[in-house]
């Protein structure tokens, strides 16, 4: 469904004579298949936000695409599309769920009007039929269809997020990008919203690229997962497999350090901190913090290699 090849996107800034190049995305290759939820995990400043901006063709200067391509089955080379064609593709084939529903819903327009703004053009049906579809869709995400008359601030955070999901999926898009869809939500609501995303996905049969730093979220809904570190993909595997047997030292540490109720064994912390993407370390970007680092890791970039069924790892220590 989605194929990303060798993507490199850097932020080039010039401010009062100071030039900086931030290598947010530095050589990413991965694919998302039909009818699956692919979870992209990574901590802050690993480049995942830049990656999805690029994939959704929503990038602006100072972000520049330096190399690579992004292709969907419905839009083979989305980076080179003209704005008019991009608008046609968006929402009908490619939808975007953002973090923070309030940035999507216009606070001074009712929910019904937001639906009209986003989706009416794409569905191409008469108004009465459109309203009927909106009601049916809202019922499907377990919301009372009567809320179409409400303003966003009258709904709770969880309800707003469900409206955002409904908005994104009403045109039955083939691909949905969800960027931290549950972060600011309460724990109880989070689970409901995630279950709902999965339900909607199964029903429409679309592919979802779910991006969040929270591994618990991925454990709950993702079919396959990719771990990003400092602008590169370091491991990719089906969710079960990744949690059961993580191979890359970074992934292994992340998963081992997850606190679980009932388990009070001391977790060992990881030294150092994520690198500055304006001046990343040479070779493997994880080597300053890696317990398995060898000389080779400082010099060369480890390639992403397949080591098992759908399991890829970028690490010299593993692939040796």
């Amino acid at each position: 469904m989605l194929s990303v090849q060798g993507l490199k996107a850097y932020y080039m800034t010039r401010h009062f004579g100071v030039q900086r190049e931030v290598r947010a995305v530095d050589g990413i290759d991965f694919e998302v298949l039909r009818n699956e939820i692919y979870g992209l995990a990574g901590e802050s400043s690993c480049g995942k936000t830049t990656l999805i901006k690029t994939i959704a063709a929503a990038w602006k200067p100072p972000l520049q695409i330096v190399a690579g391509s992004v292709g969907f089955t419905f839009a083979p080379d989305i980076l080179r599309l003209a704005p008019a064609e991009l608008a046609r593709v968006r929402w009908k084939h490619l939808a975007y769920i953002v973090q923070g529903s309030m940035s999507v819903l216009n606070p001074v327009r009712r929910i019904r009007e937001s639906f009209v703004d986003f989706a009416f053009r794409h569905l191409g049906v008469a108004r009465a039929e459109f309203d009927r579809r909106v009601s049916a869709h809202l019922a499907r995400v377990k919301l009372d269809p009567g809320i179409v008359n409400a303003y966003p601030h009258q709904l709770s955070g969880g309800m707003r997020q469900r409206v955002t999901i409904a908005l994104a999926t009403i045109c039955r898009p083939e691909f949905v990008i969800a960027d931290e869809p549950t972060t600011a939500l309460d724990v109880l609501v989070q689970k409901d919203v995630l279950d709902m995303i999965r339900e909607v996905q199964r029903e429409i049969g679309s592919s979802v690229l779910l991006v969040t730093h929270d591994l618990g979220v991925h454990a709950h809904v993702a079919d396959r997962m990719g771990i990003m570190y400092a602008g590169r993909l370091v491991e990719e595997a089906p969710t079960r497999e990744l949690f059961r047997a993580p191979r890359h030292p970074y992934t292994a540490h992340l998963i081992a350090s997850l606190p679980r109720i009932g388990d009070r064994t001391t977790r060992k912390p990881l030294e150092g901190s994520p690198p500055n993407l304006a001046a990343p370390p040479p070779g493997c970007r994880f080597h300053p913090r890696c317990p398995l680092a060898m000389d080779r890791c400082r010099a060369e970039v480890p390639p992403l290699q397949t080591i098992g069924a759908q399991h890829r790892v970028a690490c010299f220590a593993v692939n040796a």
Binding site: T13, H15, F16, G17, V18, R20, V22, S45, A278
Partner: protein
């Protein structure tokens, strides 16, 4: 510091232009110290001469060289503007920061005083003051009065910034580090408030100079001290425009316009530079 000024000059057109204009005006003001003619003397040179050599800007009907008069005039006008701006900044800062940070009754009290000052109509009060004070109306007194009238609006601006800063975590950290109110206002909050202070200073200068010119043209100030407005006043008294002595009015007006435009451009470009947000992005913080 000079490195940053050089960078600014190179990269920012507005700053370069503003700095250039202002520097030019200051140069003219500085030349007043080497003027061959004392400012108050009249009929020292042949009157009504058009611009030429040796009187590059011509001479007035009162027998003064326009150029040398201008140097004194602009010097006094600039000094006046600067004094008013500085005095009123001090008042706005103290009132605004204190009211914003303390809140409660301190805020309410200060803001009631503030709002009283905002609604005072300036020109009528100044004219009234002139008629009351007459010959005792010196420049210093006028500057003080205008400073007292010009702080209110900006104090509110500063207060709103201070209010938002009060609730930020780093203010709390400062409190728990043992810092007192005065210290917090001065060391933590002031940098955030500086852009407002700076742009309002330059605005304030423009405002006070404009008001001074207005008053002087109307004859409501001490017209014996040369100022831009004073020159225009005398020019009107001698019906210069009708008599064709255009240079007497044109050059003071041109120079004061340069002051306005130069200060405005400086304010705009420097404002962007010292704004904490742009400072942060220059330091390399991801926004």
């Amino acid at each position: 510091m000079f490195g940053t000024l050089r960078d600014l000059l190179k990269t920012n057109g507005e700053f370069a232009l503003g700095a250039g204009l202002t520097a030019f005006v200051f140069l003219i003001a500085a030349l007043s110290f080497v003027s061959p003619q004392p400012p108050l003397d009249v009929y020292v040179v042949p009157p009504d001469l058009p611009p030429g050599w040796p009187h590059v800007f011509g001479t007035t009907s009162r027998g003064q060289d326009v150029f040398w008069q201008l140097t004194f005039a602009i010097r006094n006008t600039l000094l006046f503007g600067l004094t008013v701006a500085l005095l009123s900044r001090v008042i706005s800062l103290v009132v605004g920061l204190l009211a914003g940070y303390k809140g409660g009754w301190v805020d309410r009290l200060l803001m009631s005083i503030n709002d009283t000052f905002i609604v005072i109509p300036l020109l009528p009060i100044l004219v009234l003051l002139y008629f009351v004070m007459r010959d005792r109306m010196t420049w210093g007194f006028l500057a003080m009065t205008m400073a007292l009238l010009g702080w209110a609006y900006d104090a509110r601006l500063i207060r709103s910034v201070a209010m938002s800063l009060r609730h930020r975590d780093f203010t709390r950290t400062s409190v728990f580090s043992g810092m007192g109110t005065r210290e917090i206002l001065q060391r933590e909050h002031l940098p955030y408030v500086l852009p407002i202070v700076f742009s309002t200073t330059l605005n304030n200068m423009n405002w006070s100079i404009g008001l001074e010119v207005t008053l002087a043209v109307l004859g409501f100030t001490d017209i014996n001290t040369p100022s831009i407005g004073g020159m225009i006043y005398w020019a009107n008294q001698h019906t210069a425009m009708v008599a064709g002595i255009w240079w007497w009015i044109a050059f003071p007006v041109a120079l004061v316009m340069m002051v306005f435009i130069g200060l405005y451009l400086l304010a705009v470009s420097l404002n962007e530079y010292i704004d904490p947000r742009s400072r942060l992005s220059r330091m390399g913080v991801a926004s």
